[in-house]
Symmetry: C2
Subunit: 348 residues, 2 copies
């Protein structure tokens, strides 16, 4: 910190370190990259020189020759809805993305790989694509939740190394990590049934998202397998306010509901509020099961019983798969599916 670089405020280069240490540039490079074949004494001298000069490698130069940037992008591709001033508000308001970031970071950190977070909506895709093509990153973790999203296909066609957050809806040969959504929804249904609920209903996610669709299907098929017919349902939007609104309407139309499966914790939080505002007790009058097990589940009163999606682990796995893919480009794509679990708390 004391010794500031020479060269008119510019950072010192490897040549200067080499000169200071009395060795060649190649040796400095070897020390920095941890090559094993460097004499211990020389390594010390070089390291001292590095410290003295305050040398930091210039990654542009390094990237130019290694073709590795040691960073990967986390692209959060969201769909812009109407009456949604900024999709960034949604991204920065839903705990899901924080969990993804945390999980990915934890896997990447040990390998000294940086995570570049890039939220994007459809108006923005070409910017992102350009960014990716310019070689800023070695690969992409692509969080794409919308069925119609063209980004996964684009990224794939461009030959950009990527791992997607869910099974792609169009048949492209890409690696992805997912949770068994249908199983999770079945778990919720089973639990509601087992605690004696007989008049079930569900607030689904947006049905143009695979996650919304699959959870809805999973819920219905489980009930069908147990001899139940169709149950009331209403399509939500994965937001707190939306959940509240849906619950209110659902209960207005079907006052006898005693068990409710809500396809996300955030919506559950709103739903819980509506149910209780309407004078019903939770879980005695209406039992509620959410989906996610995010921090929102703990913000609920009563505490939310919910289907746990191991988002952090899934994101970490995505990162692992991506790193493997980057290391061996010829590698065949593969998919990993995680099993959800039921977390029983107070709401059901």
């Amino acid at each position: 910190m004391s010794t500031r670089p020479a060269r008119g405020g510019q950072n010192p280069t490897m040549d200067q370190v080499a000169e200071a240490a009395g060795v060649s540039r190649a040796t400095v490079s070897r020390v920095i990259n941890g090559a094993p074949s460097v004499d211990a004494k020389i390594r010390d001298v070089v390291q001292r020189a590095i410290a003295e000069t305050g040398y930091v490698p210039n990654i542009a130069a390094r990237t130019l020759v290694t073709r590795r940037t040691n960073s990967v992008a986390l692209v959060i591709s969201e769909h812009k809805r109407q009456n949604d001033s900024s999709f960034l508000n949604r991204v920065f308001t839903d705990p899901y993305f924080g969990r993804v970031t945390a999980g990915a970071t934890s896997a990447l950190r040990p390998h000294d790989i940086h995570l570049v977070i890039i939220p994007t909506d459809s108006s923005d895709h070409h910017h992102v694509v350009r960014y990716l093509r310019q070689g800023h990153v070695d690969g992409v973790l692509l969080i794409s939740s919308h069925e119609q999203d063209p980004l996964p296909r684009q990224v794939h066609d461009l030959g950009i190394t990527a791992v997607v957050s869910a099974r792609p809806t169009s048949p492209i040969a890409a690696s992805y990590v997912d949770v068994d959504q249908r199983l999770g929804a079945g778990l919720a249904a089973e639990h509601l049934l087992s605690r004696g609920c007989r008049t079930l209903a569900t607030i689904t996610g947006p049905l143009d998202m695979p996650a919304g669709q699959d959870r809805f299907d999973g819920f219905r098929s489980y009930l069908a397998s147990r001899g139940f017919g169709e149950v009331p349902s209403i399509e939500g939007d994965f937001t707190r306010a939306g959940g509240e609104d849906c619950a209110r309407r659902l209960l207005a139309d079907h006052p006898d509901i005693d068990g409710l499966f809500v396809a996300s914790d955030l919506m559950s939080e709103g739903a819980l509020r509506a149910v209780q505002d309407l004078g019903r007790r939770v879980p005695d009058d209406v039992a509620v099961v959410g989906f996610d097990d995010s921090s929102a589940a703990l913000d609920c009163r009563p505490l939310l019983t919910t289907v746990r999606q191991p988002v952090e682990e899934m994101a970490a796995e995505m990162a692992e798969v991506l790193m493997a893919q980057i290391a061996s480009p010829g590698r065949l794509p593969r998919s990993v599916t995680f099993q959800p679990t039921l977390v029983v708390r107070d709401s059901a």
Copy 2:
């Protein structure tokens, strides 16, 4: 999209474009960088060649010579609290950061500058510092809300071009953008008084954050200037759950409160719920004024009257100042202060 690059899957280089267009590499470079002295016909030919080959400039090579990356970092430096499994959860749960991102992006986009979002807590600072020193970005937008945060000073000492989100607590010569916090709190106090409230109280932000401290001070000084003495206060944590808890305790100790200033919208949301759970009507029994005017204000019932902080505009201004600083490195640091305004809705 049809013509895939040659060179064994590698991206095409400028040389290949030059050959395809029948010109020299220099001319291709000029076309790409919009140099004025290129003949229109030649420019067309080159552009066609670029399209045909699917050429995308390699930014590592470009950065190496220009010493510009055309991206800036948005470093969100948060303090890790106890009982906080992941600080990322806070970052991705508070609408504030989405607004910052949106504002910065809008200013940067026209200049084709990328925003690299980097959330960090104290355990992580050296990673971030290394990232910044390696030259990944041309400058930094530093969102640092905590008084003790060493990052602003570190960044400054390292000579990294940066703009900070609030007046630095230690006296360093850095550019910053801020809102007049005290004025905003005064606005809230004035409004409560003007609508007839006489027994005021406040839920503050964390008092180790300048924002928390200043809003508290501003509120008290305004009241003092109107002849009021000390009012009940309780320190919150800028979270929804914290706000609810604080309101509950405040009202338990001081049942006669009829006007409440809550130092953030997120806390207001919780406080509003607590107040109403306790059987008080809002605003008739207790009037509530928040601070931020974020999306949370519209999630409140009743809709929240709040002090608007123009976060998007502030972030955009930060980006502008940063770009100016990058363009002319010798430029003296400057600060810009925005004025808050009162947004009257239904809660007060």
